[in-house]
């Protein structure tokens, strides 16, 4: 999830796209990824290199690539939509690609980036999500067993405050900085004109580039990524809610998709000479009525529709009372004779 809009927050989109890219490279298909980008950097009018988003000033890696599938874009990235995706309380008309269809065997990775503070994360410059709301959303997910294990990574200023309030089991959290510290960006690119990536995610991306689908690297190595000397802020992590020892948790458990597989040893025996199926065919060949367009509302009627007259209601009690109070006080204080100056 990238929560920042505007061109100068290029680095947040680049952060999100690099994690997206690593996760796809390690095997997770788009049908299992919900990507939320609050603004479009690749096709932004201020981008001197259109249709690309770079992570490093040497322009080695275009993290936008050829097949990015953004599920929530631009103004659709709101706190409400984010929480609806997590809890599943989503309007029935939402398509499959915009839903989180996980069950009790799914491991979920949530990566969020943007501007944050002590206990909140800013969405779109106009609203915030607090750590309490996030913890409640995770608890709703746990109640319905929408996850088996959850890894939460956040790259914002004071990121560690976001995971302080979690209380549901099987959650592991990583943050790029502690409370009171700022997460810093990596380096600006003079050609593009903005900072390209944040330090924490830059080093995480470097670390993930070494991982391949069959790799046995575990979570303790991920905790060591970006020490204070490189990152200036102190990355933090929280594992007390997690059942397994992080030593035994593979990176590919969350970032990749390694399925359990069983060899099929049983077969059934089918009799190929059965006449029983003949009865199926006539049903398919029933003649259906030719389809017709439904009666459409004529365009002329739509154009000349007058706007509906809204009924006028007298002002309600509170407003009326407030105005009455103000007027009474005014005239009592200054005297009735001043009324002629008003009219």
């Amino acid at each position: 999830v990238c929560t920042s809009r505007f061109w100068f927050n290029y680095r947040h989109v680049a952060n999100t796209l690099s994690v997206y890219r690593s996760v796809k490279r390690l095997g997770i298909p788009d049908s299992h990824i919900v990507l939320m980008l609050a603004d479009d950097m690749a096709c932004n009018p201020r981008n001197p290199k259109p249709a690309t988003v770079f992570s490093h000033k040497n322009m080695e890696l275009n993290v936008y690539g050829d097949d990015v599938e953004v599920d929530y874009r631009s103004y659709e990235v709101t706190v409400e939509n984010f929480l609806r995706v997590l809890t599943g309380r989503i309007p029935p008309s939402t398509p499959r690609s915009k839903r989180l269809l996980s069950d009790d065997r799914s491991n979920i990775l949530i990566y969020m980036t943007g501007h944050g503070g002590n206990g909140f994360l800013k969405f779109q410059d106009s609203e915030e999500i607090t750590n309490v709301e996030l913890a409640d959303a995770f608890e709703q997910m746990w109640q319905k067993r929408r996850y088996n294990e959850l890894l939460f990574i956040i790259d914002t200023c004071q990121g560690a405050s976001m995971y302080e309030r979690f209380y549901s089991p099987n959650i592991m959290a990583l943050a790029s900085s502690q409370v009171g510290e700022d997460s810093l960006s990596h380096q600006p690119d003079l050609g593009i004109g903005v900072h390209l990536m944040d330090r924490y995610t830059f080093y995480v991306l470097e670390f993930l580039e070494e991982i391949h689908p069959a790799s046995q690297t575990n979570m303790n190595d991920l905790f060591q990524v970006c020490p204070k000397s490189l990152c200036v802020s102190t990355p933090g992590h929280r594992t007390d809610l997690f059942q397994r020892d992080p030593q035994n948790v593979l990176i590919t458990d969350f970032f990749g998709s390694v399925r359990k597989v069983e060899i099929t040893t049983e077969t059934i025996s089918l009799d190929s000479d059965l006449a029983g199926f003949e009865s199926k065919l006539p049903k398919d060949e029933l003649a259906t009525e030719p389809q017709k367009y439904a009666e459409q509302l004529p365009v002329a009627q739509i154009i000349h529709q007058k706007p509906k007259q809204k009924d006028w209601h007298p002002p309600g009690g509170f407003i009326l009372g407030l105005w009455a109070l103000i007027i009474m006080v005014f005239f009592k204080t200054y005297g009735i004779k001043h009324m002629k100056h008003v009219f």
Binding site: G27, S31, D103, T264, I268
Partner: protein, 498 residues
């Protein structure tokens, strides 16, 4: 949430002449009830009641048993027995009966009945009956697997969450993967195969859920793993530990229906490239797998279909390949059974199971599925409604719409009815009631109006409005105070002015 399940299974034990054991406690016919408790956790327990009726055969049943093979006897007896879901009928035949081959003491038919060899005394008969009822209805582990989210971690085996969760519908997709269309022009008559072989199985399973089937052909879709060439067998091999990485690159291209939210089961048929033919799958011991197929729980299955290399090397490419759909469907339908949890592997040694033929599964296997799904549905409803109640407690000012309330009531009544019917042994109506209960409870829980973000506590309202109104109210209050003071002064003045 605590739940006490009572599962009643009506069993009829019918003794053929010459098979009655000498040490029966009472003369036939008599009733007996055996109860067994399976405790899942501190607050959930399951009591299974086997309500057994012991009686001797009627004249019609004797005539039906008077045939040569067990299979014919089963077919004849099927017409005479109680065919309701969940009920079992066991026919005890004499020790010397010719129906059962040597070494087999129990024959399980493809409906809901079985033939058991008498075995001399009541104790042996009772053991065999117990094993039989465990196979044909449910076992402690199959019910515990259905309640897997209530079992404390660590007590479950590692693979108890591999069967498909109970759902109202499933989507089945058959895909043909042809990575090398220049060499192989593959033709598969999938529509005919689905109508002939898959549809009968799905019709039998239609009691459990709605199924929709579609198919597709994908070209230039390669597996994610390069197979090794094995010189001894001059074939290519995929080892067992590389199989998990095969699925992912393909999955991105499989697609799924945009409209429905049901779980998708993918069955893939892979025709290897000419340069990698023939391709065999190796199991953990290095032996090639006879079916050349593997499956992944809750996802689907993949089968590798090798094309025979033509005799003459100058055969013109592309080779035309007509897929033998019978062989393919035998494997895919077996995988479908395994995905649902119907396996015939773990049986006591003296049992013989009748093959269900083109129907795909026996009636008692359908019963097994229904027992597990009914219990799972009721447990899900209970958890969901409890969680919803906790949410309502936490947020004091949440608004419950009328339709959400009616869904909750409906879920509760259906769940209670399902539990009651389970206790009596009416499996069919219990399952239908549990399905209704799950639908209603899911609709109530996931209603978009119940998002906790939309309701903030009253203290937040105060926190927002007080800084707005308090400064505004200060001059008003001061002016009011001034008015009151002036009014009092004026009252005193007339007395002073004189």
């Amino acid at each position: 949430a605590s739940a006490q399940f009572q599962l009643a299974v009506p069993v009829a034990v019918v003794f053929a002449p010459g098979s009655v054991p000498g040490d029966l406690p009472r003369p036939l016919p008599f009733r007996d009830v055996q109860e067994m408790e399976i405790s899942v956790n501190l607050r959930t327990s399951i009591t299974s009641r086997y309500e057994t009726v012991y009686r001797s055969t009627t004249a019609q049943e004797e005539a039906a048993l008077d045939v040569a093979t067990a299979r014919e006897a089963d077919a004849a007896l099927h017409l005479l027995q109680d065919a309701s879901l969940g009920a079992l009928t066991v026919y005890v035949v004499p020790e010397t009966s010719s129906h059962l081959p040597q070494g087999i003491s129990v024959y399980v038919g493809k409906h809901r009945s079985a033939l058991v060899r008498a075995g001399g005394d009541l104790a042996t008969l009772r053991t065999r009956l117990q094993q039989l009822t465990q196979v044909m209805s449910f076992t402690a582990s199959s019910i515990a697997a259905a309640l897997s989210d209530r079992v404390p971690d660590g007590q479950l085996g590692p693979d108890t969450r591999r069967h498909l969760k109970s759902s109202l519908g499933y989507e089945i997709t058959f895909s043909l993967l042809n990575p090398d269309p220049k060499s192989h022009a593959v033709d598969w008559d999938i529509e005919d195969a689905v109508n002939r072989y898959v549809q009968p199985v799905l019709d039998k399973l239609s009691l459990v859920a709605n199924f929709s089937v579609d198919s597709q052909i994908l070209y230039y879709a390669v597996l994610g793993v390069t197979p090794r060439f094995d010189k001894e067998s001059s074939s290519f091999l995929l080892s067992a530990h590389s199989l998990p990485h095969v699925i992912n690159p393909v999955e991105a291209r499989l697609g799924s229906s945009a409209a429905s939210l049901y779980p998708v089961l993918n069955f893939l048929l892979y025709v290897p490239e000419r340069s990698h033919s023939p391709l065999y799958i190796q199991d953990k011991d290095g032996a090639p797998v006879s079916t050349n197929a593997f499956h992944s729980p809750r996802w689907g299955g993949i089968m590798v279909y090798n094309v025979e290399t033509p005799a003459s090397p100058q055969a013109s490419l592309p080779l035309h390949v007509d897929v033998d759909m019978v062989r393919v469907m035998e494997v895919f339908l077996a995988q479908l059974r395994l995905l649902f949890g119907l396996s015939r592997e773990e049986l006591p040694p003296e049992f013989l199971l009748e093959s269900p033929g083109n129907e795909g599964l026996a009636d008692w296997e359908l019963d097994r599925l229904l027992w597990a799904h009914t219990v799972e549905n009721i447990a899900t409803v209970s958890t969901t409604l409890t969680s919803l109640a906790q949410l309502l407690d936490k947020i004091g000012n949440i608004v419950i719409k009328d339709d959400v309330a009616s869904e909750v009531y409906r879920a509760v009544t259906s769940a209670q009815s399902a539990m009651a019917k389970l206790a009596v042994g009416h499996l069919h109506s219990a399952f239908q009631a549990s399905k209704e209960a799950v639908t209603s409870s899911e609709r109530a829980f996931f209603d978009p109006s119940l998002l906790h973000l939309l309701y903030f506590p009253d203290d937040q309202k105060f926190a927002i409005y007080i800084p707005l109104f308090l400064p505004m109210a200060v001059p008003i209050l001061l002016s009011l105070a001034k008015i009151v003071r002036e009014a009092r002064q004026r009252k005193k003045e007339p007395t002073k002015m004189d």
